[in-house]
């Protein structure tokens, strides 16, 4: 059973656009929600993360929006650049035991 559902599977935007990737979860025990960026041949790298007591977090061009009641969270990439082309994974974490559950990934292509 997929603990975290991620959409869309792929996304193509023009340079400067704002791609939005969405994730949903069911287990209300999750208490940490990170986003990872993965380039081909590399391991995932942490982009930004949020705790459920906060509704929004910004770090540079990356913003997480979190809706606790809907059990959904999303990643927004402002002023997207071709170098942002990668696969993005959301995750939901049970901090007790440090267990990470990943979404299925979104392949983002930013066209120059």
């Amino acid at each position: 059973q997929q603990q975290v559902k991620q959409s869309p599977q792929s996304l193509i935007v023009q340079k400067g656009g704002i791609p939005i990737i969405n994730c949903a979860y069911e287990n209300t025990a999750f208490d940490y929600f990170p986003w990872y960026q993965q380039f081909p041949g590399k391991g995932p790298a942490l982009l930004i993360a949020i705790r459920p007591d906060v509704s929004e977090k910004k770090e540079g061009r990356f913003t997480i929006s979190f809706n606790k009641s809907a059990k959904q969270f999303s990643l927004h990439i402002m002023d997207s650049q071709p170098g942002d082309s990668a696969t993005y994974f959301c995750a939901a974490v049970l901090l007790i035991g440090n267990q990470f559950y990943f979404g299925t990934g979104t392949s983002l292509t930013v066209i120059p």
């Binding site: 975290v4 391991g43 995932p44 440090n98 267990q99 990470f100 990943f102 299925t104």
Partner: protein
């Protein structure tokens, strides 16, 4: 400061064989988690090691086993390999006592089972 390292980078095995993958955690980290990432999928949690013991385990068969050494490095062993075991195997390290919950991933070992 060395990040998480994994070896080998690539590996080709045949069905029924056994394989051992290795991971060295980020300096100062004491916990190692292993993940299987099939092509086009997100990483799936296999198990986690802390203080040389398996602390958590995902939904993987007993063919998957591991070990953590006193220096916190870790091995993932897979016996009786199946074609479906072909994947990228990722190791991630973290520090149990840290306020930062981040797991840092290595580059992975690409395993192909023929």
């Amino acid at each position: 400061d060395a990040g998480v390292t994994q070896s080998p980078t690539h590996l080709i095995k045949t069905r029924g064989q056994q394989v051992t993958l290795r991971c060295s955690p980020k300096s100062g980290h004491d916990t190692v988690s292993w993940y299987q990432q099939a092509l086009g999928q997100g990483p799936q949690f296999i198990f986690q090691y802390y203080e040389e013991e398996e602390r958590q385990r995902g939904n993987f068969p007993d063919r998957f086993s591991g070990h953590q050494f006193p220096n916190y490095s870790s091995e993932l062993n897979v016996n009786a390999l199946l074609l479906g075991d072909s994947a990228l195997y990722l190791c991630a390290s973290s520090l149990v006592s840290a306020l930062d919950e981040t797991q840092y991933f290595g580059p992975g070992t690409r395993l192909l089972v023929l």
